[in-house]
């Protein structure tokens, strides 16, 4: 996925602003990256370079940290992020079937973003709601006891809501 010049620009500016909120100590590397990802949704190489410069570290070290932790992504996420729980309880209750359903419905594999950047699909290891297994996180919302039909329903209702919102906005203009 190629970033536009504008996206690169935003990444550089955001990461500069975020960095300056912290003291330039190595212990702040992960908190800075987390904040950058919080604002941008991802940490592209351009941002890593800025953060590296601020903390006076070789960029490769920042890259090493970003790629080590599951939380960080280096490409833009979709507008909506779907995270399927693949923890033990969810696995025993058929989590892989749910992941298959999402992959099929969204037409992407886990770790990918749809062409239109509407959805990205990830796996997580337990969100602490094991008694409600299987679980999917839709953006920040926990969807308990999900089934393949619920996947369809959820997508449908969210797409409908998004569409209505767009039309509503268009109407205002």
């Amino acid at each position: 996925m190629k970033l536009t010049e504008e996206e690169k620009q935003i990444a550089v500016e955001t990461s500069r602003k975020v960095s300056e909120l912290f003291d330039p100590g190595k212990g702040n590397l992960i908190p800075i990256l987390q904040r950058v990802q919080g604002e941008l949704g991802y940490v592209p190489p351009e941002a890593m370079e800025v953060v590296a410069g601020y903390l006076d570290l070789p960029p490769v070290e920042v890259y090493g940290v970003v790629t080590f932790y599951n939380q960080f992504r280096t490409t833009p996420p979709g507008k909506h992020q779907v995270k399927v729980c693949m923890g033990t309880a969810c696995h025993v209750k058929g989590g892989h079937i749910i992941l298959d359903s999402w992959e099929r419905r969204l037409g992407i594999k886990v770790g990918e973003t749809t062409e239109d950047r509407e959805y990205s699909l990830e796996r997580v290891a337990c969100v602490g709601c094991c008694t409600l297994a299987p679980v999917t996180l839709y953006d920040e919302e926990v969807i308990p006891k999900i089934t393949p039909t619920k996947v369809d329903g959820l997508l449908f209702s969210h797409q409908l809501a998004d569409k209505q919102q767009k039309e509503g906005n268009a109407g205002e203009k």
């Binding site: 702040n28 992960i30 033990t88 094991c130």
Partner: protein, 650 residues
């Protein structure tokens, strides 16, 4: 005075800058520094309002706002209840209290009416009006919302009689679900910070260490190392600066007790950490929380801010001369960072790879300073030990494992949730008495304990007492305390493969046995699940497992073969069935299955036809449907959807 934590009048001089040593005691028994009946009365009124006595005309409605209940919609209940109370003129008489997790999320959203202890389950927005008009106005319990025993159908009138709770011993969890985790006053009413005050003003640091040693408390993070001994090491370690670190990384994918404690009773963890700081001589603490727990992080932030405001955290705490400051670090999603040295490396801003021990963190931990690192549940035990004494604590449990342990009971069991029981109870009691047995009347097969580092226990081992040492002796491990119950439809080879998939992707790659070993073992397990295994694979797995166990650098590698070795030990026949008969006895491994519809049971509702992504199902309405085996991709969607259990895997 608007809150219990405030000063009663201007005679009270307590503030973080001018601290008073009786601050905590004074909130409940005060005023202490001056005699004033009105001040005393004000305090007593606040206490009475928080702690309703039986038969009180005032009521409290507790609404669970833990992650689980919030996901089933508890947020909407609060607003609705406020409206209904106002409409019925009850707003002054009934107080709404938001609580953390009760550990019974499966039945959520939960609502409790105090002081009557009425326990409502699966409360929906539409039910609120009835709860108000019947229960709160007329005192008539809404029967249909009570918890019903899945086996006997009997309704439980109070939470104390719900079988799930009745047999537990909730010590660490005693506040969870019963106090407002965002209100320091609630915690103080339940004797919060009393243990810490005792430590500060009545005991020397060495005596605190001794008290914890006497209690027999062992680390709840998995290893079971004696906590008092660890504190003693850090106390003796030389250093101008020391740290206390709380491990809230809770990486076992199937355990959530730390989440619930942090969400439901965050001050207990802070109190435990500060007591530790005083004992070992540390003035700074870090809580490393996994990023997947946003609510826990938020609750901790609130708790720390409140404690700072009241001078419970800060410099010269309550005029004792003891300073303590706390910071939160959000993890970034790496299981290995739950390992203590990796966690410390991660706080320092590096890739979270384990270090070689020794030196142990007690001597050279965070930024090479002596560091005392304990798990959330371990710290949450400390306030009560200091309050009630080490020997009180040591009176519970078995000879070598004292106190209680929280388990996260999940999987194919009727009542899933958090279960706190005395050490030494049998697994059978946990699964069948508290857990209410297996879902859908199916047959129990095994319980997996300890997550990716643990093992499986078959039926014949269920009567053994559960403690650290007895579990190790049967090839399992206490681990974090995740209990996943499996029935006859769970495939044990697949379970082993599941855990290896996890450890293989989480292996940090620093040492070869773990990095290469997990990859090879996963390959073999995958092959077996796909029906392509060879008999010699079993020997290879056993040998490889032993090598990795003995040679890996950190606990991740050293324990990752356990799920394989223990399933091989108790369920070897399932491995053999996959290899020799190309058959998965549990009907789980997709490659070895075909899906078919039983024409006798099929009602022709057409639901499966719609849900099939491969267009493999055909049939007329009201006529038995059929699956085209050639087209079927074995996704299982149809099976999950059929209400008539007409679809079978053979």
């Amino acid at each position: 005075m608007e809150n219990l934590i405030d000063k009663c009048c201007d005679k009270c001089t307590h503030a973080p800058a001018t601290p008073c040593k009786d601050y905590i005691k004074c909130r409940k028994e005060g005023p202490i520094c001056h005699q004033d009946e009105t001040c005393k009365q004000k305090r007593q009124d606040f206490l009475a309002a928080i702690n309703l006595s039986e038969g009180s005309a005032n009521l409290q409605v507790l609404i669970c706002a833990g992650t689980g209940c919030a996901s089933s919609g508890s947020g909407k209940l609060v607003k609705k209840l406020e409206d209904e109370l106002a409409a019925n003129g009850l707003a002054d008489q009934v107080q709404i209290k938001i609580t953390g997790c009760h550990g019974f999320c499966e039945q959520g959203p939960l609502m409790i009416v105090e002081p009557r202890k009425t326990f409502y389950t699966r409360v929906e927005e539409e039910d609120v009006a009835e709860i108000v008009s019947s229960d709160l106005v007329k005192g008539e319990v809404v029967e249909r919302l009570l918890f019903k025993d899945p086996n006997t159908g009997e309704a439980a009138k109070t939470y104390e009689t719900v079988p799930f709770y009745a047999r537990q011993k909730r010590l660490v969890l005693h506040n969870c679900g019963h106090i407002n985790p965002e209100a320091l006053s609630d915690y103080i009413v339940k004797d919060g910070y009393a243990g810490f005050s005792r430590a500060l003003f009545e005991l020397t640091p060495d005596q605190v260490v001794d008290e914890v040693k006497t209690s027999g408390l062992r680390g709840r993070g998995g290893g079971g190392f004696p906590t008092g001994m660890k504190w003693g090491f850090v106390r003796q370690a030389q250093g101008d600066k020391k740290y206390v670190v709380c491990n809230a990384d809770e990486g076992d994918p199937g355990a959530f007790m730390d989440r619930s404690v942090l969400e439901g009773d965050p001050h207990a963890v802070l109190e435990g950490m500060m007591t530790c700081g005083y004992a070992v001589g540390a003035d700074e603490g870090y809580i490393y929380v996994r990023a997947e727990y946003p609510l826990a992080i938020q609750r901790l932030k609130i708790a720390i801010a409140q404690a700072e405001e009241c001078g419970i955290i800060g410099d010269n705490i309550m005029n004792s001369g003891f300073n303590f400051h706390l910071k939160i670090k959000a993890g970034a999603g790496a299981f290995v960072c739950g390992e203590e040295t990796a966690l410390l490396t991660s706080i320092e801003g590096n890739r979270g790879m384990p270090r070689v021990r020794p030196p142990f963190p007690a001597n050279s931990g965070l930024w090479a300073k002596p560091t005392c690192l304990n798990n959330v549940e371990t710290f949450a035990n400390v306030p009560q030990i200091l309050r009630n004494g080490g020997s009180w604590y040591a009176s519970m449990g078995t000879e070598k494992s004292k106190g209680t342990k929280i388990f996260a009971l999940t999987g194919k069991v009727n009542n899933t949730g958090l279960v706190e029981v005395p050490m030494g109870i049998s697994m059978r009691e946990i699964i069948f008495d508290i857990g209410g047995g297996i879902q859908g009347g199916k047959k129990f097969k095994a319980v997996q304990i300890g997550g990716p580092s643990g093992g499986c226990l078959p039926d014949e081992l269920l009567d053994r007492p559960v403690d650290y040492d007895s579990l190790i002796s049967v090839g399992a491990m206490m681990g974090s305390g995740g209990l996943v119950v499996m029935d006859e439809t769970t495939c044990m080879v697949d379970v082993a493969r599941f855990f290896l998939t996890f450890t293989q992707s989480e292996s940090c790659g620093k040492c070869t046995p773990c990095r290469e070993g997990t990859t090879r073992m996963l390959e073999i397990l995958t092959r077996i699940c796909n029906g392509e295994g060879k008999m010699e694979d079993i020997d290879t797995l056993e040998r490889l497992g032993r090598v990795v166990k003995n040679t890996a650098l950190c606990g991740l590698g050293q324990t990752c073969p356990n799920p394989i070795l223990s399933t091989l030990r108790y369920f070897k026949d399932e491995y053999i069935a996959h290899i020799q008969d190309k058959h998965c006895p549990a009907g789980n491994c997709a490659a070895l299955l075909t899906f078919r519809i039983d024409p006798e049971k099929c009602k022709g509702c057409g639901k499966c036809l719609k849900s099939c992504p491969a267009g493999a199902i055909t049939g007329e309405k009201k006529m038995p449907h059929v699956i085209d085996v050639a087209k079927c991709i074995k996704c299982g969607s149809c099976l999950m959807g059929c209400k008539f259990e007409a679809i079978q895997k053979v």
